[in-house]
């Protein structure tokens, strides 16, 4: 019998590592933060959180539940992390300034392409599937000034915002799959139901998949703006942190904001890195867009989302509009590689710890790992003798 305490510690480490395999490093970090947990439940319209800095200056408002550890990028690319939450007021500290600028991505792309032009694989040179998928997890979300209410179960005004978004993309030559399925009721399981829709959409092999929502903060001024004298609503991008694709999707969001900042300054309000998954584990090119809030007119949201549509083709490198330089790099973003490496590292760590517990010793784990490579695969290849 081995030392019980050592084994108990191993069990604890293994469970933690197992959790990391499942939902990524951010969950691991949040497990140790004083206020654990989060999910994609938005508050009732009208209930919202205010996030301020240490001097009490207001930074953000959101109808999403704010937890310590949440991070966000403001419109001017300042990166904050929420330190504490008291009631519905959160305090955030500045981490630094994000270099979100389209010319930076362009330079990065130019260097990469020229450096590896000869080595690039044929698959990189083929055109990206010219498809964008759109769906709505919260199918009731509506806009009071236009729709008369904030919620119309199954028939929300959000579908009409999605229609304008889709039409704008189509007018640019993009094939759009706009899914009109309803996912009522608007509860904690809505994302499980919309996961099925997202999964169906992904079978069309879209270049990106976008879940269009609206926020629920009561202050319309937070979202309204004018671009070229046209009244619009700003857009906010939400990236879920509890999945293996987080780095890739965060990078995607930053590129969208960079292009948008270049073309329509002020259109993208910021990026919120929320706890939760938002079905973003299904694709490394998935994003949640908050098209305004329930107290603005739907027309503003529609005008805003139409401008936002113009950012997608160039960032994704798909045809339709003249792309400054041709879109994404062939090698993918650093976020992709980081996410892939994390997944592999977590698997190796989890397996190693499991084997040690299972066999009771490191030697046993090594022996079993060898056995896996020899006996198990021999079995698959049909060479294992019948015993």
């Amino acid at each position: 019998m081995r030392d019980k305490r050592t084994i108990a510690i191993l069990v604890a480490v293994m469970i933690t590592a197992g959790a990391a395999v499942l939902v990524g490093e951010n969950m691991l970090i949040s497990t140790f933060s004083p206020e654990i947990g989060a999910f994609e439940h938005e508050l009732e319209p009208g209930d919202y959180f205010t996030i301020q800095d240490k001097d009490g200056k207001e930074l953000e408002k959101t109808s999403r539940h704010v937890y310590a550890g949440d991070e966000f990028i403001t419109e001017d690319n300042m990166h904050y992390r929420v330190e504490k939450v008291e009631g519905k007021t959160a305090t955030a500290v500045l981490i630094g300034r994000e270099e979100i600028a389209w010319d930076v991505y362009e330079n990065e792309k130019g260097e990469t392409v020229s450096a590896s032009a000869d080595k690039s694989l044929p698959v990189q040179q083929q055109p990206r599937n010219n498809v964008i998928a759109i769906y709505h997890t919260h199918s009731d979300e509506s806009y009071i000034p236009t729709d008369g209410t904030e919620s119309i179960p199954g028939e929300g005004g959000i579908f009409k915002v999605g229609n304008v978004f889709a039409e704008k993309l189509r007018s640019m030559g993009i094939e759009v799959v706009h899914d009109l399925r309803s996912h009522e009721p608007h509860d904690a399981s809505a994302y499980q139901r919309s996961r099925r829709t997202a999964s169906k959409l992904l079978s069309k092999d879209p270049a990106a998949i976008i879940d269009v929502h609206r926020d629920g903060i009561p202050d319309p001024d937070f979202y309204i703006d004018e671009i070229s004298n046209v009244p619009i609503s700003k857009m906010r991008l939400v990236v879920g942190r509890q999945n293996q694709n987080m780095q890739a999707n965060y990078d995607f969001a930053k590129r969208l904001k960079a292009y948008s900042d270049e073309k329509y300054p002020g259109l993208v309000k910021g990026i919120y890195l929320a706890k939760g998954n938002y079905n973003q584990d299904l694709s490394p090119r998935s994003i949640l867009v908050e098209a305004g809030t329930h107290t603005i007119s739907r027309e503003r949201a529609q005008k805003g989302v139409a401008l936002f549509a113009e950012t997608l083709p160039p960032v994704l490198g798909i045809t339709g509009v003249p792309t400054p330089g041709g879109g994404e790099t062939g090698e993918g973003t650093s976020g992709d590689a980081a996410a892939a490496l994390f997944v592999i590292a977590a698997l190796l760590l989890g397996t190693a710890i499991y084997l040690v517990i299972s066999t009771g010793s490191i030697e046993g784990a090594v022996k079993k790992a060898k056995q896996f490579v020899t006996v198990e695969w021999a079995n698959y290849l049909g060479r294992r003798k019948k015993e």
């Binding site: 199954g154 309803s182 499980q192 139901r193 829709t197 999964s199 992709d336 592999i344």
Partner: protein, 250 residues
Amino acid sequence: MTGYPIGTIALVIVAALIYFGLGQRALDRLYLTDKAALALIVAMILGGYIDIPIPFAGVDASVNVGGAVIPVALAVYVLTKAGTAKEWIRALLAAAVTAVVVFSVNRYVLDAKPWQTNTDLIDPIYLYPILAGLTAYIAGRSRRAAFIAATLGVLALDIVNYLSALFSGVRTTIAIGGAGIFDVIVLSGILAVGFAEIIGESRERLQGGPATRGRDKKLLAGLKNENYGGDREKDISIVNNPDRGDDDER
């Protein structure tokens, strides 16, 4: 995936292979051979593209082959193979308890305003499988019972949703198992076996081996270590016996 950056393809393939690989290892423990488990994984991937519509007016409802039909059929198969009546009853009871726990958490914990309860640990996509896996293992106390309970328990949530949609008349979509192998039904079954494995292995390790007192001699014969009852090295015939208690050590 043509035209995607290499990094993106690598990320998707690595994540999928790991998920399918772990899934195969989990199914492997359910009276299945390695090859049968692999075949089922492939069947669930392909079956994910097949939806069978349920023809009831007013509700857009369907059942997915990969995400619901195959895992539920497997659960029923495992149930019919259960060695004893006790195991059979335990597995069904565990399924009922799991259904109640998942439904209650969905209805009364998660649906409550988050800032009041602050009980949200992680995303429901992962929470349901974890709840189902833990409940199923505690109630069922075996990997097989855990699989049955988690699969059927999470399926029950869809049935409740379906019935409420049928009666409320609100437009919604009940695509049972619609995300195929990535659906919460499959995820729950696989995670439940994983939990049973981790908890079971750790417990046995802590107590210095599986509990043997009062166990059927036939069951003990399947155990590998000679101190526990059977001597595996001398009795090779049991190696391929899928009814053994711990068949993960082939």
